[in-house]
């Protein structure tokens, strides 16, 4: 594989100077990089920094969960196209093959003056560079009536794992002809097509098990990602099943009552059976505690994802305000590689190469009906700026849609290997 540590050690002389230092001595004097968050951004960054520096940098990865469940493909699990277990990934290879110190704990504070972080367990870690990739948290009261305390009555399922399983169980048990409501989030939020792929997958499931059920989307946005493609697909596969209420009809004024299972849209109260509330979002809490946010997100340089507030802190993925890239796993993975190259160059004398970014997001509408959108990006002084892009077409033939879906399966295997290494 491309970045296999053992093989890399054997095959290149680029780092021979570093390598000649005995391993132990180096480990004690080597600079420390702490990565907070072992998701799409953090796991990739940790792996590329460890691999790129070949032991020249001590990498610690702080992540509370022992098994990371990808949000990507969690909608396919709702639709019955994936098993939940196929979405879980552990950190064993990063520890065993890449020498990363994986610490399963929460980071609860960052002291940027002292360059230390505090863990929930009480321990403290010092860093030369800190990489934050904590993903998102929800903005309190963005959907009045909803809070984390009521998330089991109205699941968000926007951090994958038990929430996703809960939502699926509720859908499976929904009464015949019941109403599934989704309160969609305002921009910006993680995975722009995510809510609409979810609607497609829920419709696929209900069409098989509960065909008279209805789906109601309450959406504060005028328009959404791949809208024409999704609406065309809903028309073809799920005729009459899905209704979307947009801002013109009061969807910017929504509240919920989880005890009564009602959604109020501009004062009109709807009784629903299952309700998926996806609240407004902001950078994961630790980014705010670290003091590197401006408003909801953490502004960063497009050249190396360094915080605009502290150059020793890098922020990746969903938490970053970087410019034109959508908040996706693909984007977080792409940003992590640019960040890792810059950190290895700064701390371990590796060569620095110009930043370059790409993203592609696949979505599944129904069996073998896949669509995609993608773009390339470059770094400018102001932001990560889009260069070129594409999107699937409405009139594509069935074979193209099937090929697009099969391609997404290949991508899933590759990106999870790129994040966690091959076992």
């Amino acid at each position: 594989m491309p970045l296999d540590r053992r093989q890399f050690l054997g095959s290149t002389a680029a780092f021979s100077a570093t390598l000649s230092t005995p391993m132990l001595a180096r480990a004690q004097t080597a600079p420390n990089v702490v990565v907070i968050g072992g998701g799409a951004g953090g796991a990739t960054a940790a792996r590329y920094i460890a691999n790129g520096s070949q032991g020249g940098i001590n990498v610690t990865l702080v992540e509370p969960t022992r098994s990371y469940f990808t949000c990507f493909f969690s909608n396919l699990y709702l639709g019955g196209f994936r098993e939940i277990d196929s979405l879980g990934h552990s950190y064993g290879t990063l520890a065993a093959d890449y020498g990363i110190n994986v610490v399963h704990d929460w980071a609860v504070d960052v002291d940027r003056q002292a360059k230390t972080i505090t863990l929930a367990g009480g321990a403290s870690l010092s860093y030369d560079r800190l990489v934050l990739s904590p993903g998102i948290d929800f903005i309190e009261d963005s959907v009045p009536g909803w809070s984390l305390a009521t998330q089991n009555a109205m699941p968000h399922a926007y951090k994958a794992g038990s929430q996703t399983e809960l939502l699926k169980a509720q859908l499976a048990n929904m009464r015949e002809g019941g109403v599934f409501a989704m309160v969609a989030p305002p921009n910006p939020y993680r995975c722009p097509p995510g809510p609409y792929e979810r609607v497609s997958m829920v419709a696929h499931m209900l069409k098989e098990t509960n065909p008279t059920a209805k789906i109601l989307i309450v959406d504060p946005k005028e328009s959404f990602s791949k809208q024409g493609l999704f609406e065309d697909g809903w028309e073809r596969h799920y005729t009459g099943m899905i209704e979307r209420i947009g801002p013109d009809f009061g969807a910017t004024n929504v509240s919920v009552d989880p005890a009564a299972m009602t959604v109020s849209i501009d004062g009109n109260v709807e009784q629903v059976d299952v309700c998926n509330v996806i609240p407004a979002q902001r950078a994961g809490r630790i980014a705010h505690l670290a003091g590197v946010t401006d408003g909801n997100w953490a502004p960063v340089s497009a050249y190396n994802l360094a915080s605009r507030i502290d150059e020793n802190v890098h922020v990746l993925g969903d938490a970053a305000a970087q410019g034109d890239m959508p908040k996706s796993g693909f984007s977080a993975n792409s940003q992590a590689k640019v960040c890792a190259n810059s950190i290895v160059a700064d701390l371990a004398g590796g060569r620095a190469f110009p930043a370059r970014f790409a993203n592609t997001c696949w979505s599944l509408i129904d069996t073998n009906d896949g669509i995609k959108v993608g773009a390339t990006y470059e770094a400018t002084d102001e932001k990560i700026a889009k260069i070129d892009g594409f999107v699937s077409q409405v009139d594509e033939d069935a074979a193209t849609r099937e090929a697009t879906y099969r391609e997404s399966l290949g991508w899933y295997d590759a990106i999870t290997e790129d994040m966690f290494g091959t076992a």
Binding site: M1, R351, G374, S392, A399, Y412, E417
Partner: protein, 230 residues
């Protein structure tokens, strides 16, 4: 089994052996269908390996059998098991390449129409055997100048390694789904593949976009890197 049963069995068996349409393939019509293949495969006079292996003398050749072409594991293993290219096998493979040899690097969704397939197989069978062997032995395959220019560049390995991280977001070490593995490719194969997207000979929304952003230095660097990866 009674006589009748045996007869019925024989008929079914015969039907499985060679679908009637296959023997009726028209090589002239197959030439048009081969345009899809020609983005990656050469056949006939002067054929050499490009993104895909050359197809001269294909019939009877072990699957994955050219020593100077790097195949996916699945084709190499099939050859090691003694599988040879026959008309029937080619026909089945072309119907659903990923279904027939799961993990093949050939990115081609297949041809479902049996008549088109029969024509194509007939064309390949005829052309694979019909070429000037002496001239082909010394052929450089009329290498397009874009490709020759890149192969003349000494690729920057470290730069290639950095750039490869853009590829590994989608290309796993082992091929999965419809995305082929690209590790260990010969530089000429690698360069030809990217150039075929750049010049529009092959089309794919993602690959066309990615290839368009890569200059000659970048492609040479990537080729230098990927050829060393196992």
């Amino acid at each position: 089994m009674g006589k009748q049963g045996l007869f019925a069995f024989a008929v079914i068996f015969w039907a499985m052996q060679s679908s009637p349409a296959l023997s009726e393939g028209d090589p002239m019509a197959g030439q048009a269908a081969f345009r899809l293949c020609a983005a990656c495969h050469m056949i006939g006079d002067g054929a050499i390996n490009r993104a895909g292996p050359h197809l001269d003398d294909l019939m009877g050749r072990p699957v994955g059998g050219l020593s100077d072409y790097r195949y996916s594991d699945t084709l190499t293993e099939a050859g090691n098991e003694g599988e040879l290219w026959t008309e029937d096998r080619l026909n089945s493979f072309l119907e659903d390449p990923q279904g027939y040899y799961r993990g093949t690097r050939m990115v081609f969704r297949g041809i479902s129409d049996p008549n088109t397939r029969a024509d194509l197989v007939a064309y390949i069978v005829a052309e694979a055997d019909n070429y000037d062997r002496a001239a082909t032995a010394t052929s450089t395959g009329d290498m397009p100048p874009e490709i020759a220019a890149i192969l003349a560049i000494q690729g920057d390995y470290a730069y290639g390694e950095y750039l490869s991280s853009e590829c590994t977001a989608c290309h796993a070490t082992q091929s999965g789904g419809d995305i082929p593995s690209i590790v260990g490719l010969a530089p000429s194969t690698f360069v030809h593949s990217l150039i075929s997207y750049k010049i529009g000979q092959r089309e794919h929304q993602v690959m066309t976009m990615i290839a368009n952003r890569l200059g000659d230095e970048e492609i040479a660097a990537l080729a230098a890197y990927f050829t060393t990866v196992e």
